[in-house]
Symmetry: C6
Subunit: 239 residues, 6 copies
């Protein structure tokens, strides 16, 4: 039956062809999501595409980068044909580069600043790239976890649909580097490299591990990153 | 023979189709149980369904969440067609959101508060979602263990049938994240992802690892999470 | 030849069908033994059955639990048809529930108390369930080891036949959680789950890893826990 | 379609036959790259060849070694027929040997010095061999990460195309030793040993794991180090 | 050729049938040896048999136990038909039980005491059972290593042929628990359990990993522990 | 082509039959080399043979042992028919036994002493057996690494061809115990045990992992240790 489509919760689409079809019930608005993957799996692209999809529909968006410069993010988006500079000058987009070391040191005050930014800006979509770089700046695990917990909570309260990016654990592609965000978020997307045993060609594969309150495919599907962004091949298989 | 059904101990059912049939002897009332699983395996759904099953029978229930807001929990339940808001307004249900950081800092006083809440509320069923988030807030393992030990003991003394949820260890799906609750509880349910080697479709599987004083199946069975909650397929096999 | 049966050392039986036949030479009296297994493998049942076997023969017994209440232990025994309450009221049995946190903090004075209890009570059999919970309460490994060492030594000096239960290491079913008791004890019984690769039914298997000064089978044999306790199937095989 | 070739970003070549063909879109100028590999996989050779390729085209280059002496680096280059002493005397090349212990202790001031060196020297290409030796000199992970983060950022700001070399993690050839540089860099090249199960001959294999804003092959290809440097065999396979 | 048999160094035999034949060149007198194995593999038996072999030939021997009581050691030996009490009363043998905690705390003074004991007693063979229990009592690895180093050196200087017993590493049967004694000793014997994949019967296997200045078999051979001690089956194979 | 043989750098041979043929280009003089292997793989023999090869040709040599006594080293050499005592009395050889604990404590002054010894003695070849024992004496990884770094640098500056021995990592035979020397040295030889899955006979295998500025075989070849030292079988295979 189709009961999952009759829900009261407003649903949004991510903006990634193939993947949105795998999210059968749609992601609830104002969800806190995370995309987990190791270096080069396309996390930043995923985040940019997610924002572009909203911007195209007239939404407002904020991209916070802890890893790259504002300039690099804008250039990457434009490479893909997404007019982020235009969106910025028209007041629809804010790209903010934060220093992770400073951010970690003043997170409690920054939490307020970010919430205010989101509220005043009336942002619909937010990306933080990456939460791992923030997590890494804490030496004590309990301190790290409580800070991340408070931070994710303040993001949820700010009422914006948020996509965090996170590095994967070195041993387990289905776990985040510090093993906490996947439990604090409403949805988890896992990007991974699949390396065949004959050492030929590495493939990229995506799995939806969790979407609270939504039905979704549990298949692992191949995807590619091209000049146009990420495309997931629902009809294809990894092997 | 049927000697295990002639026991003096009162037994309850969980409320999950298929799974209750696997618990041959029934779970003793006032047991402390834990459901272990990684992100998205359905632990929160399991807990909500466990409460709903009691509420339907006129029992009283408490849901303590350390991960989500009250609002999110109520919405999730209603999505599944379980009238949690009604139960609350009729005085049968209390949904409490606690801050894990604060909880860890004042656990000894909170223990008393929670016990009192349970007693005054005359709760029959309690869910704590998740004990891992509480455990994570301690830096020193011995401190963590002694706090968790005292906390579980006070829950048992409060005389309520309790279901804890716990994240799984990253290396071993049959162990909890911090490796202690499975030893302090009377029953252990293990939820896990089974990923086939051909990277096609991930399956969900449940095993009853332990129920003190009860006979139970030792089979691993597939289950699904749908708009109606969790269903375990006793007739099917994973592979 | 049969020279191992002509030994001067007095030997006892455990009281578990099938397993006692695997202990060819018998366990020397006043031995310190450990049963290692993960949650639900039957360690507590093993300990209760070991005491019941002695009590039936008119021996005196002490059960120290760090995990459960006195009441829970008595109820579990009675569920299995072992009249532990009777034994207690007749002065043959003492069931003691200790708080592991307090126990760890005052172990040196408790050592004396326990020795005195054993001597005054004239206990023949003692179970401590579980030594892991005691070990866990120490933060520093060297401190933990020296305390456990002194504690096991004082048990041996008290002249009682003792069965410790211990959680298994998460990575290695043949090692105890903290990797020390198996070296300090005279006999080691390993209980483990064997999970077939097709994810069907989990089996329980027992191996005698060591009995100082005794011949024993080195086979791994299936066992079951039923309403009557543990039975080992000597004629059957795991696969 | 060929849209990835019409980008506005200036692209450079590395100077390694076979590998440059695998970088379909070219590496953006002023990128920060890293080559990851265990001892002897050819990281230093890779860095020298990268500089030589620029020097041949009239570019200016800086080689910073934390592992070897200036003399050793110059000798190695000359062994391969690359006239590094000539380049130095003509003012096109600077080879600098830094002490990693001192470097770690005064990194914040050194950052300024290195930036000034690059700017005054008008360096087009820079190699730092190896970033792992720098990372190793810090005891606290968070301190290490923040220092490395600030250092890589200052390199990017200096506007030079940079190749870092990094030791591989002992457990995972696709991760750097300390697991951070692969996230801070724009491109990641992985060099690894492939050892056949029959213990015959060890092979060398390269994979491009990531190039931000560029299309690239995802194949793993064999390479050799000869007296002339590194050659990647695009037509061959590892097995 | 037979040149290894013409050596100037005096050689001794261990006293274990089958194993002595595997030591083709004989163990040099005054060697420091270690037998590595997990609980129950027969390390204590190995040590007792080694002493008994010397005692039978009129040598003098010292057995230092950190794990058991004097009484337990004497009883175990007598169980095997080795008249250790007689040897003691005749002044050929000293069995000493030391407390590992105290030993660790006063090792530098004890070193002198032990050396003096050995010299005054004119001991030919010494067993220390087990060095792991001593190692465990130190919290800081460097302290542990330097103490063990100094201790082994003083044993060598005392001019006695010594057999240490050591627990195996949990992950690697060929490494000692703390991974140092195998490097400080002249000979390494590895005892291990071999468990077949069908979970039938566990076997015991011995390998000579190293004997400085001696030729030896590199085969892994099955052995058994019986009422008469350890016998190695040179003609048999594990599988 | 043969261009690698026309190099300007002076090359030396190790003195191990079979292995020198695998080093196609020869090891550059004044190189810093390391031989990595677990206990008993022949590291000390490798070092002695390397010195003997130089001594036979009239070179001068220093052997520094941190593990054994001077006497033990001289005896081992003479066992193999290498007249080390003669070389010593003729002033061609110095065998020095250092205490690793003291060495670690006064390494900065010792560095000067060793350099002076090498220079005054005009040593051509040096062996340090083993660098792991030195590394182990430091508790803090960063301290350890900086000390080892400075020490290897001072050895290189002393202008002697040096062979360090190092214990292997317990998990990875291709990595040194502390994972640093293989990056600081010009050449890496890996000695390892290869154990067949049928538990029959353990074999010894050698691989040249790296020689800076030299061509070399990448094959893994069997070797044996006999009364005459190490012989590598270039024509044979492990399996
Ligand atoms: N309406 C639905 N239809 C199908 N699956 C659903 C539905 N709602 C939730 N799920 C599944 O349940 C999962 C979340 O369950 P939850 O109990 O929150 O897991 P956990 O608490 O273990 O993280 C989602 O990831 C999704 O796969
Ligand atoms: N009446 C019974 N019938 C069948 N199995 C039972 C019965 N009672 C207990 N068990 C089994 O015994 C297990 C608990 O044994 P227990 O001795 O408490 O284990 P442990 O102490 O190792 O955690 C339960 O998980 C259940 O599988
Ligand atoms: N009389 C005997 N007959 C057969 N096996 C015995 C006998 N005595 C001891 N064993 C075996 O020897 C083992 C103990 O040997 P021990 O030397 O104490 O081992 P370890 O010191 O390595 O723990 C026992 O676990 C048992 O398997
Ligand atoms: N124009 C393009 N064509 C093809 N692939 C591209 C293109 N641009 C980027 N990529 C791919 O995307 C990867 C980087 O994606 P990115 O989102 O930065 O990953 P992450 O943030 O996970 O490190 C590059 O490594 C490259 O493989
Ligand atoms: N005369 C010999 N005949 C055969 N093998 C020998 C002889 N002398 C030593 N060996 C072998 O050499 C090994 C020791 O070599 P050694 O160089 O001391 O190793 P390491 O320093 O790596 O511990 C011994 O374990 C033994 O196997
Ligand atoms: N002339 C040569 N011929 C063949 N191989 C060489 C030559 N020079 C160096 N090599 C190879 O290159 C390796 C060293 O490369 P290098 O760049 O120093 O590695 P890394 O910096 O990763 O340790 C040597 O181990 C050797 O295998
Ligand atoms: Mg990114
Ligand atoms: Mg949940
Ligand atoms: Mg129990
Ligand atoms: Mg290098
Ligand atoms: Mg022993
Ligand atoms: Mg050696």
């Amino acid at each position: 039956d189709d009961s999952e489509f009759e829900s009261d919760i407003d649903r949004i689409t991510i903006g990634i062809k193939g993947l949105d079809e795998m999210i059968l019930g749609g992601v609830p608005q104002r969800s806190l999501m995370v995309v987990i993957g190791s270096a080069g799996t396309g996390k930043t692209t995923f985040g940019l595409q997610f924002l572009h999809h909203g911007l195209k529909q007239g939404e407002k968006a904020v991209f916070i980068t802890l890893e790259q410069t504002r300039e690099a993010i804008l250039a990457t988006a434009e490479e893909r044909g997404w007019p982020f500079r235009e969106y910025e000058s028209e007041g629809y987009l804010a790209v903010v580069a934060l220093d992770p070391v400073e951010m970690a040191n003043s997170l409690s005050s920054l939490r307020g600043d970010i919430s205010r930014l989101i509220t005043e800006f009336e942002a619909d979509r937010l990306v933080l790239d990456s939460v791992s770089l923030l997590e890494m700046m804490y030496d004590h695990p309990a301190k790290r976890r409580s800070e991340v917990f408070d931070f994710t909570r303040s993001l949820k309260e700010a009422g914006v649909t948020t996509m965090l990016t996170s590095e994967a654990s070195e041993d387990n592609p289905y776990a985040s580097r510090h093993g906490i965000v996947e439990y604090l978020t409403d949805a988890v997307f896992v990007l991974q490299y699949v390396r065949p045993s004959n050492f030929r060609e590495t493939r990229l594969a995506v799995e939806i591990q969790k979407i609270r309150d939504a039905n979704h495919s549990r298949e692992t599907k191949p995807y590619e990153i091209t000049a146009d962004g990420i495309s997931v091949y629902r009809q294809a298989n990894i092997f």
